[in-house]
């Protein structure tokens, strides 16, 4: 159990993705069970790894480091994938979700992996709220991206009179649209809560005044605003459906994801910000878990 490494579940998820791709060629119970087994095995290894990490740092994985936070996010996505294919074994959602999972696991190598010493002095409740709401909110953002992509692909196929001949089984536009709506409805309030709690942490934990000119705050704020704009529009537009919704959600979610991933990864490769240092947000776990 203690020997579980990132490579274990990365390899399992890779095989599961290959099986999912093979299912595009031909659907068969064997292939489904093979893919499911590899994904489930990876999920188990992933869970054990996070458990071990938490025990080693004596902190929940969400708080132990940015790397673990990223891995928790990937873990949530895999859980969602397993949940969906348990109830609908025909749907080809793995083709969209598993590459994201692999990307997140791979990205975790580039983010801070050291335990967060500062958490010992931080208010545990606030940091937990901050990290958890951001993680679940980001999982919703990832779902929004995948669902929007699936919607646009399904829309294109239907407009061009293709059915499921290529083996790619997608849910109906109506279902994709409905789940997409819920993913935005859930993720935006959670992200708002996460960002709000981050600001509270900043105010509590730092003697310095909060600068709204901080590029991290500006970039995060813009991406959050764009997603909140989509949220408001979807909430106010009765029966908001269609390609336009999918495009808006995709762009807003992708922008937010890109922002967060950049803020996670760029400091590790030493990119300087115009703020006089690396692009860091001292109080944000996603950006800098070890300096909170």
């Amino acid at each position: 159990m203690a020997n579980v490494t990132v490579f274990c579940f990365l390899a399992s998820y890779s095989v599961a993705l290959v099986v999912e791709l093979l299912r595009l060629q031909k659907q068969s119970p064997t292939r489904f069970l093979g893919g499911y087994a590899f994904a489930a095995a990876g999920f188990l290894a992933h869970t054990l790894f996070l458990w071990n990490q938490g025990r080693a740092s004596e902190l929940p994985p969400l708080l132990s480091s940015s790397r673990d936070w990223t891995l928790v996010l990937a873990w949530l996505v895999v859980g969602f994938y397993l949940f969906v294919i348990t109830f609908d074994r025909q749907v080809s959602i793995g083709v969209f979700l598993l590459p994201l999972v692999l990307a997140l696991v791979a990205a975790s190598y580039f983010v801070v992996s050291t335990p967060n010493d500062a958490l010992l002095t931080a208010r545990h409740g606030w940091t937990m709220l901050h990290a958890a709401s951001l993680a679940i909110g980001m999982a919703g953002v990832l779902a929004g991206i995948v669902l929007s992509l699936m919607y646009l692909l399904q829309h294109r196929r239907l407009r061009h009179k293709y059915s499921g001949a290529d083996g790619l089984r997608l849910p109906s536009l109506e279902r994709l649209s409905r789940i997409n709506w819920w993913s935005v409805m859930v993720s935006v309030p959670l992200l708002t809560l996460g960002m709000g709690s981050g600001l509270v942490l900043k105010m509590i934990g730092s003697a310095e005044s909060l600068s709204l000119a901080d590029p991290v705050i500006v970039v995060n704020g813009i991406s959050w605003l764009s997603l909140t704009g989509v949220f408001g529009w979807m909430l106010l537009t009765p029966r908001a459906t269609g390609k336009q919704v999918a495009w808006r959600t995709l762009l807003a979610c992708a922008f937010l994801l890109l922002t967060v991933v950049s803020l996670l990864v760029l400091p590790q490769i030493g990119l300087e910000s115009g703020h006089g240092g690396v692009v860091l947000h001292d109080d944000c776990l996603i950006c800098r878990g070890d300096t909170l």
Binding site: L158, S163, S172, E174, G242, Q244
Partner: protein, 426 residues
Amino acid sequence: MKLQVIYCNHQTARLDVRERLAFTSDDQLAEAYTQFRGSFPGSEAVVLSTCNRVELYTAQDDEGGAPGHVELAEFFSRFHGIPIEEFFGDLLTHNGPDAVRHLFRVCSSIDSMVLGEPQIVSQVKNAYRRSEENQACGPLTNALFQGAIRVSKRVRSETRLAEGRVSIASVAVGEFARGIFDRFDDKTVLVIGAGEMAEETLRYLQDDGVREVLVINRDPQRAEVLAREWGGSGYGMEQLHDLLGRADVVVSATGADQPIVDAEMFRRARRGNSDQPVFVLDLGAPRDISPDVAEIDDNVFLYDVDDLQATCERNRKLRSREIERALGIIDEESDRFMQEVYHRATGPIVKRLREQWLEVSEQELERLRTKLGHLEEEDMGQVEQTIQRIVNKLLHPPLETLRNEAREGTPHGLLEALRRLFHIHD
């Protein structure tokens, strides 16, 4: 005897060609039969015109006087007023056994876009009935079409071709409408037309949970009757614009010879509703919905019968074993049918020969009765039976040879020899 078919179908010709060659109404068909009889008085004819095919079957005893495929193509050209070069390349023709096999395949739905679909049998029956009503049928086409209906029954009962999605409507709804909508119980379905295809579509949609059904037809009473059957409401064509705007699913299957819904009408109907997806299924040939309706906005999903081709082809591949079994039955039945036809061609000669010999035997018996008047009734009966047996035994070898020869085709040489040898005259 010449039996042939000239045709185009969904595999050989595009929809725009088929819809120009189609016979869309009973009146048009009646006029076609009248003109055909005028042009080819000795020929029997049956026209089969559906959304997927236009076929003309002809049969004539006198092979020399039968029209060839070029003459039949010219007939199409004259009747529809289309230059022959615009469609001649899309026409195919079969003669004799191949023509029989073709009809048997068509009627058994092997040749259909949707393998195993049941509508084709009633379409073939209707085509045959219309031909009878217009006095265009004859003994050969009667036998051919009755044979085709019998073979289709056998194929359906002995194979599994008719299992699964077996109608164009079911393929369209199953493959495409379900890609758009998750459920149908909260959708409004508008059916334009009250024919068999409309009914079949409604049957399938109701199985999928549709509750609100609107039926529109030129004859509102007919629409009302169909709608009532499916728990919906019937309307006349004047309501089309209003109802188009309300529908989530539009299925059109009328016999109109030009589009009844154009882009402008659809755009006006969708005003204020253009963010909602609408599934439009045009099962008409000629098409009922103008193709540019699909361009109105991104949420209009329009499909016509040709758009379903790829899906149907995939279903066909999955059932290749059943197709092989069905083709085996069709080959066997086609051979049997042709033997019967050939055998029937020898019938008049056989009958005449038998009559001639019996006539001779009767004359001889009469002469014997006069000469041997003292014979008892019982003895005379024995003599009659003996002579009858001699006639039958003498007739048996030539008739058996004739029957054997007729298995491969009409034995013209042998028939001619019998005529000359025994002085048989028509």
